[in-house]
């Protein structure tokens, strides 16, 4: 009997102690995580000394903090070698640091990009619609698959104090100073120097807040023809600082190009050339979206054409999952059928200029602009929608290059 009694005592005390063991945390809800618009001001008041802060619109932010030369350059902080156009006193690469202390400096915007398909890597574009017009800014972040955390349609608020703004290949972006010392790069000595770099992932997560849950329907797309686009992308036979500042703000714009087709051509070191049939691993002009650059990493260009003679580059990465997919209409026989697939191409407008010599020699034609789709059907966002001879019942079905299918 005693044994039973003592056993009961033990079990009872075990249960009492069990109640004192560490309890499990409760599940996080959306309300715990996403900041509501109505909470924003109070939160930022609390976050900043004396409650002082400013949320800049993106263009205002660039005007306020991004200078032509950048404040980071000095004798001991040289920018990359080929970035300065002395003729026009323009810098394709720049870095301006943003004050660490003082009132809070914020920008906000909705993410318009997605990196699943691989055309965007450790970068994203945010969009702010002001007066019905898009304002956009690239953000360079050292987070692999960053869009898993910062998804398309998500509005984010970024505290920029201590970060930097600058231009990489003339493309404005939120960044940090970074020294390029890639001795394994092609023409490495021309690329060495300070330039905008990726914001370290932990720091970016630390300075970013998510406003509400993602809402892709609030992303603004500017649907237009190539001709219309070109009226907006001013051709600049003679670059100057004023034009340049305005045009740089076009970078990152989300556009839907109507009535275009791939014409099967690419830019072969300045010469517009027909794509050919070949293995994308070794043939730079292969009739796919992005043959290998042998890891140099520059974007590969395939031309889009409207129903007239207007063209624009469709820019893709060799690391994209669809890089070795045939262009719409292209196949193992060549590019003859490309002209039959017409439709829309959606993407981020970009102006990638990494050689000051292009500016110095006044060789700009406007055709340096490109559009970068975020994916194709089957790979992420289906930004390329084309149809055989305009028949919506005959959509383009992506097909991969097959070395055995000769």
């Amino acid at each position: 009997m005693k044994t039973i009694k003592y056993s009961l005592y033990f079990v009872l005390s075990a249960f009492v102690l069990f109640a004192f063991t560490a309890c499990e945390p409760k599940e996080l809800t959306e309300d715990d995580i996403f900041v509501q618009e109505s909470e924003l001001d109070a939160m930022l008041q609390e976050e900043n000394p004396e409650g002082q802060y400013t949320i800049y619109e993106l263009e205002d932010f660039l005007d306020r903090f991004m200078t032509e030369k950048g404040n980071y350059a000095s004798d001991t902080c040289p920018y990359r070698d080929r970035s300065y156009d002395a003729t026009h006193d323009l810098y394709l690469y720049s870095v301006d640091t943003i004050p660490t202390n003082g009132p809070g400096i914020y920008i906000r915007g909705r993410i318009t990009t997605d990196d699943y398909a691989g055309n965007f890597y450790k970068s994203m574009v945010i969009q702010r619609v002001v007066g019905g017009k898009q304002q956009n800014l690239r953000i360079s972040v050292d987070l692999g698959s960053s869009h898993g955390l910062y998804q398309m349609g998500q509005e984010i608020l970024i505290r920029c104090n201590g970060l930097a703004v600058g231009r990489y290949a003339n493309q404005p972006q939120l960044c940090v100073p970074s020294y390029n010392n890639n001795i394994y790069a092609m023409n490495a000595s021309q690329k060495v120097g300070w330039c905008p770099g990726r914001i370290q992932g932990s720091i970016f997560r630390r300075v970013t807040k998510m406003i509400g849950t993602p809402d892709r329907s609030k992303i603004q797309y500017d649907t237009l023809t190539l001709a219309t686009l070109y009226t907006e992308i001013k051709r600049i036979p003679n670059a100057d600082a004023t034009d340049m500042a305005a045009l740089r703000k076009m970078d990152g714009r989300l556009v839907v190009l109507k009535d275009v087709h791939f014409n099967g051509k690419y830019d072969d070191n300045g010469t517009i050339t027909n794509c050919v049939v070949g293995h994308p691993d070794s043939v730079g002009g292969a009739n796919v979206f992005a043959p290998s650059t042998q890891n140099i990493g520059y974007p590969q260009s395939r031309y889009l054409q409207d129903q007239g003679t207007g063209t624009i580059m469709c820019s893709n990465s060799e690391y994209a999952k669809f890089a070795y997919y045939y262009l719409p209409g292209a196949d193992k026989t060549g590019i003859a059928n490309c002209v039959n697939f017409e439709g829309t191409v959606t993407g981020i407008l970009g102006w990638y200029l990494d050689k000051a010599s292009t500016l110095a020699s006044n060789k700009l034609t406007g055709t340096e602009w490109s559009v970068t789709p975020r994916g194709i059907p089957g790979f992420g966002i289906p930004d390329i929608q084309m149809y055989f001879q305009g028949d919506t019942d005959s959509p383009w079905v992506p097909k991969e290059y097959d070395p055995n299918d000769k």
């Binding site: 102690l17 069990f18 309890c23 960053s146 898993g148 010392n181 890639n182 992932g201 932990s202 097959d402």
Partner: protein
């Protein structure tokens, strides 16, 4: 001198001695106590009544040495007279409460070290400790902090039995300590035998053999309740035991409950950071003893346990956080600690054992047992989202060094930085000038104290350093909020999409049925014959379940690695999109539901069936001057994998294997490994839910051991033992990627196809071992010295890691591994007066690889590894030599010494203090960093290595003439290292800082004082009325709070690489000079920690 022992003498035809050993507090008999006559060197053990008898003795003054597990030993003096039967009065032994506490700490320690289901755990301390052996009793606890391992053997060499039933895992070879977590009574009584010695319960083996004895009759009648407090992973324990003693009907019973728990979870910078813990152990045993000596024991025990884990991190993280207790596995969720890695273990066991006494000279033991070991641990998984680990290398300040470290010898345009005195930086060789010669400025002292180069943006660097130093929750711990945010955002964008993050639970269960028969015969003079039969069927059960979707709607069961490498798979293999769709699938058969919710199985679901049958016999001969034993064993093993899921990558590899074998039948390529898939395809029965069995593999391994004891006189003896055996590979080392497919390593394939004896043993490890011991035993001083030498050949090992050259996760099978263990261990115990005992122990060894290994490396997702430079054919498996010869084994410190001062006062005070010194503790090297191809540019299979230490942009190999090193091969395919500076093993020496990537570090602290660990304990046993007692014991480990003591560590497999632009090779990465990119990870010994126990017996 008879010391008033009250001896009773009677005239008999022979000289004999008998007596009884009892507990001093309770008067209960002690079973299993060892009784040794010091002068005549004759020993026996006490029976259930605590009684012993020794016959045919020589008449003389004799010392009776009595020792029992959990008790303080004693020596009594008796006069043995010719032809008289001497009866001693009851010998009363005092409980050694300090030892009992230490055993509990040890058991807990070893349980906690079972940290990882993938084998990446620090070297385990041995939980067994033998009281009787001076060396073992001194070192087993004192050296456990340093993770000392007997003779340098890994834990698979030690065999564990319970009531004679084998309990080492058939699959992994180790003993599962968590089965007995907290059950200090269940594990109290054990036989521990030194390596290779004669054992009565099994053949034994290379390492120690331990047999736990759980019969209820061993326990004294009464209650025992206890409580303990500690600052280790759990904080408190309560336990209660009731033993009935032997009832009049011959039955005895015992039951124990033990509950260990943490009422709170420690947070930053404290032992047990982020660890929750609770475990409820139970133990019940019933025993029936018949008058004729037969016995039946029925035993069951188990300890459902849930505990958090911690993980090794790099030195940078320890330095930044300022704590050796930093744990990367947890974070705050709604203000509370949440650990992503939670182990759940429960190992319910049932045993029935029957001892049959045939007659006085013949005994048989039968035992059957069943246990189902449930072991699982949780981990974060993610897909198409940033790596959630806070200590991921990109999240650390050192990631900003990448690209800023100069190649010191060939990067002529980027000069290295020096200190003013001309010496290089302590932390690398940062660039000081750019490649165009522009001076970048001076070095900068960063917030973490490092001197960093001028090309590192100091503001960003310091900002990150500050986040780490301040232990920012979002930076230094798992940011649960971000993980939920990703999933909620995902739901908003596409409710049908796969969760970005979730927690999976990896189950590694094993169920076993075992039976043993043991026969002992002492009919013949001088001879004890023992024979045994052990049979065991084990089934390893492996699968994953979704534990928590973290707000996500579902997880879509697609292989992430295959998905990521779609482009490579398609372009390099010519596979169609339909093929690739199949490759991505973890289950290729129709009817498989891809959408997984909480609790669903996914990923893999397979079993390994293992059979084992051992037959052994042993003869022990005892003569006046010489004892001799020899034993032989035959060990039959089988293994077979079955799966409930047919993985798409297995299907893919089947195609490759078929093609390759058709082209070259001399190579293996795993052609027979996918029989299940082929059969299913042929039969058209690719239906989900069906189990498919792979090929079975059978092994037969002999073992032989013998030993000789020469009794120089009663107090001095020499012992020699020797062992030769072969060991079949464990299942965990047999399958190249057992989660995916059925393919075994090539040596098993050779074995399966064997037409010669050499081929039959192609997969087995061969072992030869011997030791020589000198033992002495005097009233004041006793001890032993042992020299040992063990050589193993043809070992196998499997590794898996992310390969930056192939740019995918690879599996690497190593074979032909030879190892040598040699050394000396010694201990001596000296009585200093009445109260003190001084014990010294030392072990100095040399445990190392004595050969290089052969490796076969293949991508888990089936991607080609490289391309043949000549034929341009894709190569799916690379073969190379791993330069392991001379590398030290990372099985704990190889030089150890300690001095222990023990105090025992007859008024039941116990105290001791131990000072231990440990050295020669080596880092575990990554074979991927020691591939021959990395030194030569060419693997042994002839394929080129892209990016090797002597490549034109690295030039990392030291040359005698300062020239660029190129290596040629001789006619046998061996490298000719022209002009290279070679180390003592013939491996080319690498220049700083490249040498940091491959060198094997001695983990011993730089300051010799930090190689010492001091432990102390104090206890008091108070006897109360009515045979009641209270004992209190406080044990403090690492009294001086030495937080600089590394117990283990390992090199990361990845090498720092950069992509060479513009080259058309299949892969074109190069090893960079940033040796700090993937540095080693370390384990530290805890600082000062205590264990306080209070036990009340009534």
């Amino acid at each position: 001198m008879l010391l008033g022992l009250g001896l009773t003498l009677s005239a008999l035809a022979q000289t004999s001695l008998r007596g009884q050993v009892v507990d001093a507090g309770t008067g209960e008999p002690i079973q299993g106590a060892k009784v040794l006559l010091g002068n005549q060197n004759i020993a026996t053990t006490t029976n259930a009544a605590g009684e012993f008898q020794l016959l045919y003795l020589d008449a003389m003054d004799e010392e009776v040495i009595i020792e029992a597990e959990g008790y303080v030993g004693t020596i009594e003096l008796v006069l043995l007279e010719d032809n008289q039967a001497v009866k001693m009065e009851a010998v009363k032994l005092q409980q050694d409460i300090a030892k009992q506490t230490q055993d509990e700490i040890l058991l807990n320690l070893t349980e906690e070290e079972m940290n990882d289901d993938e084998g990446r755990s620090q070297a385990q301390a041995s939980a067994s400790s033998a009281t009787v052996d001076v060396f073992n009793s001194t070192t087993s606890f004192a050296w456990s902090t340093a993770r000392y391992r007997n003779r340098g053997y890994n834990s698979t060499a030690e065999t564990y039995y319970i009531e004679g039933l084998p309990f080492n895992s058939a699959e992994r070879g180790q003993f599962n300590y968590s089965a007995m977590g907290g059950l200090n009574d269940a594990s109290r009584y054990k036989e521990v035998l030194n390596p290779m010695e004669a054992t009565s319960f099994s053949f034994g083996g290379l390492g120690q053999a331990t047999n736990y004895m759980m019969g209820a009759s061993r326990f004294a009648q009464g209650w025992k309740v206890g409580a303990a407090g500690t600052n280790r992973n759990y904080k408190a324990r309560i336990n209660a035991t009731y033993a009935s003693g032997t009832l009049s009907n011959g039955w005895s019973f015992i039951g124990q409950l033990a509950y260990r728990f943490s009422p709170y979870v420690d947070q930053k910078g404290i032992i047990g950071e982020g660890i929750k813990y609770y475990s409820l152990g139970y133990f019940f045993s019933a025993e029936k003893q018949w008058q004729n000596g037969n016995r039946l024991r029925l035993i069951t025990f188990g300890a459902p346990t849930e505990r958090g884990q911690n993980g090794a991190v790099t030195q940078e993280v320890y330095d930044l956080t300022g704590s050796i207790y930093y744990n990367p596995y947890w974070g705050y969720q709604n203000g509370k600690v949440r650990n992503s890695r939670i182990v759940k273990a429960y190992d319910p066991t049932a045993i029935a054992a029957f001892d049959l006494k045939i007659d006085e000279q013949q005994k048989m033991k039968f035992a059957v047992g069943y246990h189902y070991s449930m072991y699982s641990n949780s981990a974060l998984n993610y897909f198409n989202a940033p790596d959630p680990r806070p200590d991921y290398y990109r999240n650390l300040p050192s990631a900003m060094w990448d690209g800023q470290i100069a190649n010191p010898y060939n990067e002529t345009s980027a000069a290295q930085m020096y200190r003013p005195d001309g010496s290089p930086y302590g932390y690398g060789l940062f660039i000081g000038q750019d490649m165009n010669g522009t001076y970048l400025g001076a070095a900068q002292t960063a917030a973490d104290g490092n001197l960093v180069g001028p090309s590192v943006d100091i503001n960003q660097y310091n900002a990150l350093v500050n986040l780490w130093q301040n232990r920012d929750n979002k930076t230094t711990q798992i940011d649960w909020e971000s993980l939920y945010a990703a999933n909620y955002a995902n739901n908003a964008n596409d409710p049908n999409a796969s969760a970005r993050y979730f927690i999976e639970r990896r189950h590694n269960d094993i169920q076993e049925v075992s039976a043993v028969v043991n026969y002992q015969n002492t009919k013949f003079d001088h001879l004890k014959m023992t024979a045994g039969l052990e049979g065991r069927f084990s089934q390893g059960i492996h699968y994953k379940t979704v534990e928590d979707l973290l707000g996500g709607n579902q997880w879509i069961d697609i292989d992430a690695f295959a998905d990521r490498d779609i482009k490579e798979l398609a372009t390099n293999s010519g596979f169609t999109q339909e093929d690739i769709k199949l490759i991505r699938q973890n289950e290729t058969r129709d009817g498989y539901e891809l959408n997984k919710k909480d609790g669903d199985r996914f990923g893999y679901d397979y079993r390994i069936n293992m059979g084992n049958l051992k037959a052994w016999f042993q003869n022990e001969w005892t003569f006046h001057e010489v004892d001799l034993y020899y034993a032989l064993q035959l060990n039959f093993n089988s293994m077979q994998r079955t799966t409930n899921m047919l993985n798409g990558r297995a299907w893919y590899l089947t195609k490759i294997a078929d093609e390759k074998m058709a082209a070259d039948a001399t190579r293996y390529y795993g052609a027979n490994a996918y029989a299940q898939i082929k059969a299913a395809e042929a039969a058209g029965t690719l239906q989900a839910g069906t189990t498919y069995a792979g090929d079975a593999h059978y092994f037969l391994d002999p073992a032989f051991k013998l030993g000789l004891t020469y009794k120089i006189n009663g107090r001095n003896r020499l012992k020699v033992n020797a062992l030769a055996q072969t060991n079949a590979p464990y299942a965990r080392d047999a399958y190249i990627s057992q989660r995916v497919h059925d393919r075994v390593v090539e040596n098993i394939y050779r074995h399966d196809q064997a037409k010669s004896l050499a081929d039959f043993y192609a997969a087995s490890e061969k072992v030869a071992a011997a030791d020589l011991t000198y033992e002495f035993n005097y009233p004041i001083v006793r001890g032993r010295v042992t020299g040992f030498f063990t050589q193993t050949w043809n070992g196998t090992e499997l590794n898996g890691y992310y390969d930056d050259e192939a740019r995918t996760f690879v599996n690497q099978a190593l074979s032909g591994i030879d190892k040598r263990y040699m050394g000396v261990e010694a201990a001596v115990s000296v009585k200093l007066g009445t109260y003190f005992t001084l014990t010294g122990a030392a072990s100095v060894g040399d445990y190392r690889y004595t050969s290089d290994a052969q490796s076969v490396t293949s991508a888990e997702n089936g991607m080609p590894m490289t391309q043949d430079q000549g034929t341009q054919e894709l190569v799916f498996e690379t073969q190379d030599r791993v330069l392991l010869k001379g590398v030290k084994l990372s099985t704990g410190p190889q030089a150890n010494a300690s001095l222990k001062l023990g105090f025992f006062h007859p008024k039941m005070w116990f105290a001791d203090i131990t000072v231990s010194y440990h050295d020669w503790n080596y880092l575990s090297v990554a074979p991927s960093r020691r591939m021959q191809g990395l030194y030569t540019g060419t693997r042994t299979d002839g394929t080129a290595v892209n990016g090797w230490f002597g490549d034109k942009n690295a030039n990392a190999i030291e040359t005698t003439d300062g020239q660029l090193l190129r290596v040629s091969m001789d006619a046998d395919g061996n490298p000719v290292y022209e002009n290279a500076v070679l180390d003592e093993n013939g491996v080319p020496v690498l220049k700083y800082p490249y040498n940091l990537m491959t060198m094997q570090e001695n983990l011993a602290a730089t300051n010799p004082l930090n190689r010492f660990i001091i432990d102390a304990s104090v206890g008091k046993l108070i006897y109360l009325k009515n045979r009641q007692s209270v004992s209190i014991n406080l044990s403090v480990t690492n009294l001086t709070n030495n937080t600089h003591f590394k117990t283990g560590g390992y090199q990361q497999a990845r090498l720092p690489r950069a992509v060479q632009q513009g080259e058309k090779d299949y892969q074109n990465s190069l090893i960079t000079a940033n040796a700090w990119k993937y540095p080693s990870k370390y384990y530290y010994a805890w600082g000062a920690n205590f264990f306080l126990t209070v036990t009340y017996k009534f």
